[in-house]
């Protein structure tokens, strides 16, 4: 099973929240409404949808070798 490394450019994030809708186990919005990844790596393929849904292109998902 592939593993995905998730990073967010928080300077780009607009707080739209589509990432939380797409992948609620991985993303949340902090107190100022900016997205956070709650884990660095995940097997949840929905993070790819989250990256595609981000209007700011703030989310980068890289596939890394499975552990």
């Amino acid at each position: 099973m592939p593993l995905y490394r998730v990073s967010i450019d928080r300077s780009l994030c607009s707080g739209f929240g589509a990432c939380v809708d797409a992948s609620p186990d991985v993303f949340r919005l902090d107190g100022s409404g900016i997205a956070l990844a709650t884990v660095a790596e995940t097997a949840d393929p929905r993070v790819l949808d989250a990256a595609d849904a981000c209007p700011m292109g703030a989310i980068v998902v890289e596939e890394v070798a499975a552990a």
Partner: protein, 368 residues
Amino acid sequence: MTRTVLVAGAGLAGSRVAESLRDRGFDGRIVVAGDEPHAPYERPALSKELLAGTRADAFLRPESHWADRAIELRTRAAVADVDAERRTATVDGEPLAWDALVVATGARARTLDGPRGVHTLRTLNDATALRDAVGPATRVVVVGAGFIGAETASTLLPKAASVTIVEPLAAPLLRIVGPDVGSILARRYRAHGVDLRLGRGVERIGGGERVEFVELDDGSILPADVVVVGIGAVPTSPLGGALHVDEHGRAAVPGVFACGDVAVWHRPSLGKALRVEHWTSASGQARAVAAAILGQAEPYDEAPYFWSDQFGLRLQHVGHAESWHAVVLEGDEAAFTARYVDRDGHLLSALAVNRARDVPVLRKELAA
């Protein structure tokens, strides 16, 4: 059985259909044809980072991305001669038989007649041409205080000698934000140094070989070296203009789909069909179309959303309203949220200005 999908248009919507088909396991042929000389790029950056010169390009994906996914990307290649009965078309003049046709050709900018120096801002080439045309001595006149006009003015202000905006309505972005919020924005533009001429139309753009002035309908003359026309866009497609589609992106003719700026998309939640030119709609509709091509049902009916960066403000708008009963403002002029409500207080649309944390809450309220 769908074996060949022809996507007319290589913008966000068209390219996302192709990607989404592959993500869903479609292994047939995918041809994405666009008439521009570029691989798919991000349009929102054009009036922002690209025009500012802080970003050199705006491509959506690395160059190898398309071939890696067996997506045949054809640039400088218009789709024409569509025969929806026989399911044929031409791509750059060569015949191609298709099983599914996706119309994602977007829109072209409306413009005004004038000598050289009249620009629009719709394509990557438009953005680079405008960027290169403006220097410290350039007097810029922007026609239209819509989103393109306002963002362009904001981006060019620090680079140009002067920026004037001419808008026939009484406030910037009036139809979307209303007079009260429009007045707040007008004050902001002026405080930043824009010469904002409201309630004025353009009589003509004059000059010799190049633009020299813009004459307004009250007879006043604005000296100008560059004119940027931001008065909207007209949907364009190989089938004529806009296409009416259902919430899956299906046109009335079987096998034909549409998404993005060209699509008049049925919105069950609003009880009407709506054509918008928003990034999130293009992206979401593309997924619905890819699903529909494969016989899956993933209707798209999310509240319209767009954002705009201008004069130190980030505007984020959710929902859709052509009229409203009242506007409820919360915050101050530097950071506020405007709620556009009906007679019963139900939210129709909302504008968050430098208040990003309100946006997910407003989206949920609109979806409820």
